[in-house]
């Protein structure tokens, strides 16, 4: 944990420094000076005067909290969950930092792979636990971190895998991950299991495979792992956090490649990080107090 706090402090310092060098006032709310590219009136938006934010549908706890199942129902043109959940709250904090009031925020449902397809976007920025990678940054603009991510292994209590305390001990087991996630890449690069990693379209299908015994362990980001082990599964447990990923991975917002909004979102994120807002949101929605062992 201490290591993580240190890494986060360094990341924050770097961000503040980066922000300073590109002009600290970039994200100041309400600034309408003609020279400020991030002033609300100067932003190039999908709908003028409105900030349109995309995420996947269904959206998941603890990132978005809403009615059972977390599918958006009916109207897609406004916040489905009213500021509830980590990414929902983060999105609103960024919107506020950019000078938008709550009723100037629109939500659109965007499947993950539509967030980076070529052509015009129907959102200003998109957030749905998208992990940063240099390869991905070639296909779309990715913002700075709004959450430093760790991957963890979820399993059923009493199974052989739940007794593992080292990464080496995980090798003989069968793992699953959600398709299109860095969890899949991390499973292959860190654990490199003996049998091929299974992939699933949805986390619900992956959970079913875990319950069925078709996979022994499921690799997901830590907040999701916590939610699965303590709320979704009756007999779930977190085997541990995968070591090499600690502090190296982060979630980014996705923007159209070359978007003029990217630097403004980054400015807003660094301001929110500097004044402690991001940490507060994280404390409130992601139960980091719950400690899981780090695998050696």
């Amino acid at each position: 944990m201490r290591m993580r706090a240190f890494v986060m402090a360094v990341a924050a310092a770097v961000l503040v420094a980066a922000c300073g060098s590109s002009g600290g006032t970039t994200a100041s709310p309400g600034g309408s000076t003609a020279g400020n590219p991030c002033a609300k009136s100067n932003l190039t938006l999908v709908t003028p005067g409105q900030l349109t934010i995309g995420t996947d549908n269904p959206a998941f706890d603890p990132y978005f909290q809403g009615p059972t199942g977390h599918e958006w129902k009916g109207e897609f043109n406004h916040d489905p969950y009213n500021d509830q959940g980590f990414e929902d709250a983060t999105a609103y904090a960024v919107a506020q930092q950019l000078g938008f009031s709550k009723d100037q925020v629109n939500w659109v449902a965007v499947p993950f792979n539509n967030s980076y397809k070529p052509g015009p976007k129907n959102f200003d920025f998109y957030l749905a636990q998208v992990s940063y990678s240099p390869q991905r940054a070639k296909g779309a603009d990715l913002s700075d971190s709004y959450y430093d991510e760790q991957e963890a292994v979820v399993a059923l209590q009493g199974t052989d895998i739940s007794k593992a305390t080292s990464v080496a001990a995980l090798k003989p087991f069968t793992f699953g991950a959600q398709i299109g996630t860095t969890s899949y890449d991390v499973t292959n690069s860190t654990i490199a299991p003996d049998s091929a990693v299974q992939t699933f379209n949805t986390l619900n299908a992956a959970l079913q495979a875990l319950k069925n015994g078709q996979i022994d362990g499921l690799v997901v980001d830590f907040p999701t792992a916590y939610y699965m082990a303590n709320i979704q599964l009756d007999n779930g447990t977190i085997v541990g956090i995968l070591p090499s990923t600690a502090g190296k991975e982060h979630f980014s917002m996705v923007l159209e490649q070359g978007s003029s909004l990217t630097q403004c979102v980054n400015g807003a994120l660094s301001a929110l990080r500097a004044d402690g807002t991001l940490a507060q949101i994280q404390d409130r929605w992601l139960n980091q107090a719950a400690h899981a062992p780090e695998l050696q």
Partner: protein
């Protein structure tokens, strides 16, 4: 010669329209990235092995199982009505359900029953799902073949002293199957592509491997690797099917059959 010229003109015009569209550079970068194609091809080809294996196993099972269903459905007389009814209900249900639904429910549902001795492998249950769905189609193809054999053939065989089973085995089925080879191959081309559905239940096949590449690079080029591999398998089969149909037509015209 005219055909060649008009074809060339049409495709040149379409090509020019695509290449000169405003979004072409972005689409080319996102779908036709040469370097990424080369980098992804080996992985996708390795995953394609699973598609080929599933296809080969499923095809053999379907040929046998569907023939059984078709024969049962063709049994005459009121005594066999329950058997015919079961065969009819089976074909109605499995031709009516989306294949992906059958595969998904079987591969994630049956292992959930936690029955001892029942395989948990998603690949196993996906193959069973494909066999159930495709056999329903193929059984109908067989049945059409069986019914296309003129009743006088059966009467003649029976009057020669062959039993009902012998008549079916030596007179009806050889003619029926030969007539339905082209539509059978048609169904198998569909089957090859539907092996990709196993990915819904976990195993990584060619399409899913391409999807993994897509998500890792925010680029759709890996799908082109899967497309090339599927075409390499299906095009020879479609050409063979066309050739068989043409040969069949020639032979019928000559009165060989």
């Amino acid at each position: 010669m005219t055909a060649l010229a008009s074809t060339a003109i049409v495709f040149t015009l379409i090509g020019l329209a695509v290449v000169n569209s405003s979004g072409w550079p972005a689409v080319r970068q996102a779908f036709l990235n040469g370097a990424l194609f080369r980098a992804s091809f080996a992985d996708v080809a390795r995953a394609f092995e699973l598609n080929v294996k599933m296809f080969l196993v499923a095809e053999v099972l379907i040929l046998a199982f569907a023939l059984g269903v078709a024969v049962l459905r063709s049994l005459p007389g009121p005594v066999f009505f329950p058997i015919r009814a079961i065969a009819i209900v089976y074909t109605d249900i499995f031709r009516g359900l989306p294949t992906v639904l059958v595969v998904y429910v079987l591969a994630l549902g049956v292992p959930g029953l936690q029955l001892t001795g029942v395989p948990k492998s998603a690949v196993f249950w996906a193959v069973i799902g494909l066999v159930l769905v495709y056999s329903a189609y193929v059984a109908e193809v067989y049945r059409a073949g069986i019914e296309s054999v003129h009743p006088s053939q059966e009467s003649a065989a029976r009057s020669l002293g062959l039993s009902r089973l012998q008549t079916l085995r030596y007179v009806i089925l050889p003619q029926a199957v030969r007539r339905v080879v082209p539509p059978l191959l048609n169904d198998f081309i569909g089957l090859q592509k539907d092996t990709a559905l196993v990915a819904f239940a976990g195993p990584v096949e060619a399409f899913r491997q391409a999807q993994i590449g897509e998500a890792a690079n925010f680029n759709f080029t890996p799908y082109m690797c899967a497309a090339v591999l599927f075409l390499a398998l299906t095009i020879p089969l479609t050409r063979t099917t066309d050739w068989l149909i043409a040969r069949d037509r020639r032979r019928r015209a000559l009165g060989v059959l």
